[in-house]
């Protein structure tokens, strides 16, 4: 392995609204940087080749597959991971709320990638049809749910967001219950 590949580079990002800094070898994947260096393990790795979508985060507001990016490519950029989706501690984003209530999750491993994909999709398409939602989510794999309750949860989240558009970025009306 050449020195160029293993020399650590400094990486500065804004993640979930906070400044963060780390060092990584150029060969380090963004998914590993987020999980190991930033300590945000809610971003899951399901296939390492960009198909399953579990590792999706938002980079400058756009969904990216972090298993297909190097950490150095995120230097100077803004990241949103699942940990930053809720408007505050003890609060849930309407998409999170809808996924929980409508049983849009089972094992939970694919869930973060879906949530972030949906956040961007609903911002662009606030009132989608079921068919449109199915197409929009076809880049994310889930093996437990058969997708149906994910689709229902997405439509429900769209409904909440349309009725209370401020929810997209502010507090959800419902607080998190930890049982």
């Amino acid at each position: 392995m050449s020195d160029a590949a293993t020399t650590r580079r400094k990486i500065q990002v804004t993640v979930n609204g906070r400044q963060a800094e780390g060092e990584a070898e150029p060969r380090k994947l963004l998914s590993d940087f987020i999980r190991e260096d930033l300590g945000l393990t809610g971003t899951h790795v399901g296939c390492e080749h960009g198909v399953c979508g579990a590792c999706t985060v938002l980079l400058d507001g756009e969904p990216v597959r972090t298993c297909l990016m190097f950490a150095v490519q995120a230097d100077g950029h803004d990241l949103l991971t699942v940990e930053g989706l809720a408007p505050g501690p003890d609060q849930l984003h309407p998409i999170q709320e809808a996924f929980w209530e409508r049983h849009g999750l089972q094992c939970g491993f694919c869930t973060p990638g879906f949530l972030l994909t949906i956040k961007v999709y609903l911002a662009e398409n606030p009132d989608p049809t079921e068919r449109e939602v199915r197409e929009a989510l076809s880049g994310n794999l889930c093996r437990c749910t058969g997708y149906q309750n994910i689709v229902k949860a997405t439509l429900r989240a769209a409904e909440i967001l349309r009725s209370e558009p401020e929810n997209a970025d502010k507090a959800s009306t419902k607080t998190t219950q930890r049982d």
């Binding site: 809610g42 579990a54 049983h103 939970g108 093996r143």
Partner: protein, 776 residues
């Protein structure tokens, strides 16, 4: 079993979102790969690129010299490793011969994953290639290259653990090379049955290996303490089973091992057996550091434990009026390099899902130079029902009879003998089919077929199928305690892979007499939890639900005994209303559960704490059935099968949490549709997987499937808690047959090989009109 409460509490039967959902939507749920203890090392395995080869030499010196590498192990470093390994877990690493492409030959632990990966490239392995047996038919022939070491006994514990239905006959004599197991079930005079038949149909059905497809790959973290104790954090469907297997592989007493079951990111049968736990433990022992091993997706596909390839030749004969006469079948089950398939259930469903008066079904489990198999949700039932249901559909069409009515006429009932002689237990197979036949998509199938499809050129059809599973049983135990604040806490060792913990809490709530919110439940590790069985075989709610119910009843009795003294009433005169123990008919004489809980935890108190225990063994299984319907359109040019509508009917016994069951039915149906339409592990002639990525191993996406309409019917299971049956496995069973039946309905073409890809369907359409398979 009667519900014990005197008024309805929020418990059994309520739709309740799973409490762990909050952590799952916020990213706080911890999976094995999220654990990052101080000093953590990362493991990688060097895997054989060849399916069958002798290992001439392994040179690890360069890898060991790489900075950051802490251990490199080969078979020579592992005294626990023996030839004749009976399971994949025992075959930690190839000793001197690799038997499938992807088998580990060396293991590395390093400071960073990238270093471990780099070290693999520095390990030199010289192989001497040996002839391969990739296809089961070829592998069964005399003189075929051997897979297992001579003298290796077939492991059948998977079959027993999963379903527990015993065969009455097995054949161990005249084993050909690479034949691991043989079974034969027969009754009556099959030859005479065929001689008297007016219509005989024979087909050969082929289903490739498919992968269970969980999104979280196999993951494990192992660490030893200074006293020689081993802790394993793992993604497993059964922590006690993992403990036993690892103890056996490593020659350790079980008390030296603690298994901590982490959140399981999907298992579907593949995480029943140990796989990576032993090598992680050995690397941790060699380095005296915690070692984490997470399989890549490529490794999962190429060297996981998929479902077997199954080939079934089925011949069935009937009278002109439809009377069943005889069925004969041969099943070849290709298990890859290690045995362990569930063979008997295949014979039972082939021969005795319908009332065949005479049958002879033979099955062989064959080893090949491919990755070895594990369970996949109702193991081999989708395959078996694809064959038998296709046969029934063909017979009905050949006779000009309504295919659904034809099935109903011959479907088993409670008390009918299974092929192994045991009676069928009470079940809802008939109820599911009857419910489906009333569905507008079934009654409207002629209109759909006549409606012509896109541009009037599409071919439209409707198919249904019925199938199921005989869920397993396993002893288990649970405790429930009353807290000082009056809430309840259930402890089990049962891994929650399907949202079962919320259902167990609901059972506890109803059986004790409080609302669900008053009950918390925890899955504890093997040191802390009472014994629990596998979370497999559709049996968690059926078995652990009964144990939790017994524990809650026990706790309720203990609570009443304490309250009776205070309230000066007989325990049998007490009831629980709104969190208070009340003397029936005298509401002013009451005591809150918190009052009672505090008494049992007060300094100098002499009141014993409430600790309900449920510890049960089981003898009665409860068959679980589903019927599914597919309304499809076939593109006549491309062969693409488009699903327009899909209906799933299932007998759930009693819906403890309808929301969770609906999720099982939908998820199972889509997995079933994946087997039907797209999924196939494709091996080349040298035994190498040709599609080891999710680009090429095609799983269904949200855009591929329509809404799954779910309909539950409730035929109570006599021994199930509140009548509940297992629900996890039945929904994966019927879809391949339902879709194949729909394709014949649409096109007149019967396809007997899965998956029903556009290419396969288009070729079948091109070949029309084909010989119809009728001999009469």
């Amino acid at each position: 079993m009667a519900i014990l409460t005197t008024r309805e509490v929020k418990g059994v039967g309520f739709t309740i979102p799973r409490p762990d959902g909050a952590d799952k939507v916020t990213g706080h749920t911890r999976y094995v790969a999220d654990l990052n203890p101080p000093g953590l090392l990362h493991a990688k395995l060097l895997r054989s690129p060849h399916a069958h080869a002798r290992i001439v030499r392994i040179d690890t010196s360069l890898a060991k010299a790489l900075p950051g590498v802490r251990a490199v192990l080969t078979a020579a470093d592992i005294p626990e490793l023996h030839p004749n390994a009976k399971t994949r877990a025992h075959a930690i690493m190839a000793i001197d011969r690799v038997v499938f492409a992807g088998q580990p030959v060396a293991a590395v632990a390093a400071d960073e994953l990238a270093i471990a990966q780099e070290a693999l490239d520095l390990i030199g392995v010289e192989y001497e290639l040996l002839p391969v047996a990739v296809d089961a038919l070829q592998s069964m022939q005399p003189g075929a290259p051997p897979v297992a070491d001579a003298g290796t006994e077939a492991d059948t514990s998977e079959a027993l653990a999963h379903s527990g239905v015993a065969a009455t006959e097995s054949q161990d004599d005249s084993k050909a090379v690479n034949v691991a197991q043989q079974t034969r079930l027969s009754r009556g005079d099959v030859a005479a049955g065929f001689a008297e038949s007016d219509v005989v149909i024979e087909h050969t059905y082929r289903i490739p290996m498919v992968h269970q497809g969980y999104i979280e790959t196999h993951s494990v973290l192992a660490e030893w303490d200074s006293a020689g104790g081993l802790t394993i954090w793992t993604s497993t469907q059964g922590s006690f089973n993992t403990r036993s297997e690892v103890a056996d592989v490593l020659g350790l007493p079980e008390t030296r091992i603690k298994v901590v079951p982490m959140e399981c990111g999907g298992g579907f049968g593949a995480k029943i057996r140990a796989l990576c736990e032993p090598i992680a433990a050995l690397l941790a022992r060699a380095t005296r550091r915690p070692v984490r091993y997470v399989m890549t997706r490529r490794e999962e596909l190429a060297a996981g434990m998929p479902a077997p390839r199954v080939v079934m030749r089925v011949k069935s004969g009937v009278k002109r009026d439809g009377t069943l006469m005889a069925i004969e079948a041969e099943t070849i089950l290709d298990s890859g390099a290690f045995a362990g398939a569930v063979l008997t259930l295949n014979g039972i469903f082939l021969a005795s899902l319908y009332r065949w008066p005479s049958f002879e079904v033979r099955g062989v489990e064959v080893l090949t130079h491919k990755p070895s198999i594990a369970a996949y949700r109702a193991p081999t039932a989708p395959h078996t029902v694809f064959a038998i249901d296709s046969q029934m559909d063909r017979l009905a069409r050949a006779l000009g009879l309504d295919p659904a009515e034809y099935r109903l006429r011959h479907l088993i009932d409670e008390g009918d003998p299974m092929a192994n002689g045991q009676p069928w237990q009470k079940n809802g197979a008939r109820a599911c089919l009857e419910r489906m036949i009333e569905h507008p998509l079934w009654t409207g199938r002629a209109e759909w077929a006549a409606s012509g499809g896109r541009d009037g050129r599409g071919l439209r059809g409707t198919g249904l199928a019925v199938g199921g599973w005989i869920p397993g049983i396993q002893p288990c135990s649970a405790t429930i305690k009353l807290n000082p604040d009056g809430t309840l806490n259930v402890v089990t060792g049962q891994v929650d892979i399907a949202g079962t913990n919320v259902g167990l809490a609901q059972i506890a709530a109803t059986a004790y007499g409080v609302d669900f919110e008053q009950v918390s439940i925890v899955t504890a590790d093997t040191d802390s939890a009472p014994l629990a069985g596998l979370s497999a075989g559709s049996k968690v709610t059926y078995t652990m639900g009964a144990a939790v119910m017994a524990a809650a009843r026990d706790a309720r009795e203990q609570t009443f005994k304490i309250a009776a003294d205070d309230l000066e009433a007989a325990p049998e005169d007490l009831e629980i209303v709104d969190g208070r123990v009340v003397v029936r008919g005298v509401p002013e004489r009451s005591l809150s559960l918190a009052d009672i809980g505090k008494k049992t935890n007060a300094f100098m108190s002499n009141v014993p704490p409430v600790l309900g225990v449920g510890s049960l063994g089981f003898s009665q299984q409860a068959p679980a059935f589903a019927a599914q319907l597919a309304r499809i359109e076939v593109d006549p040019d491309t062969g693409l099968v488009v699903l327009h509508d899909f209906v799933a009917v299932q007998d759930v016994g009693k819906a403890i949490n309808p929301l969770g069951i609906e999720g099982q039915m939908q998820g199972g149906a889509v997995q079933s549709l994946g087997i039907a339409l797209t999924e196939e592990l494709q091996f080349d002639d040298d035994g190498r997987l040709m599609n080891p990525s999710l680009l090429d191993y095609r799983k269904l996406t949200a855009a591929d499937v329509p809404d799954i309409e779910t309909i539950m019917v409730e035929v109570p299971a006599p021994a199930g808690p509140f009548g509940a049956r297992g629900v996890g496995e039945p929904p994966i069973v019927p879809a391949p047959a339902a879709v194949a039946n729909a394709i014949e309905d649409a096109t007149g073409v019967r396809i007997t090989e899965l998956p029903l890809t556009p290419e396969r369907v288009a070729l079948a359409l091109l070949a029309r009109p084909s010989e119809d398979g009728l001999s009469a």
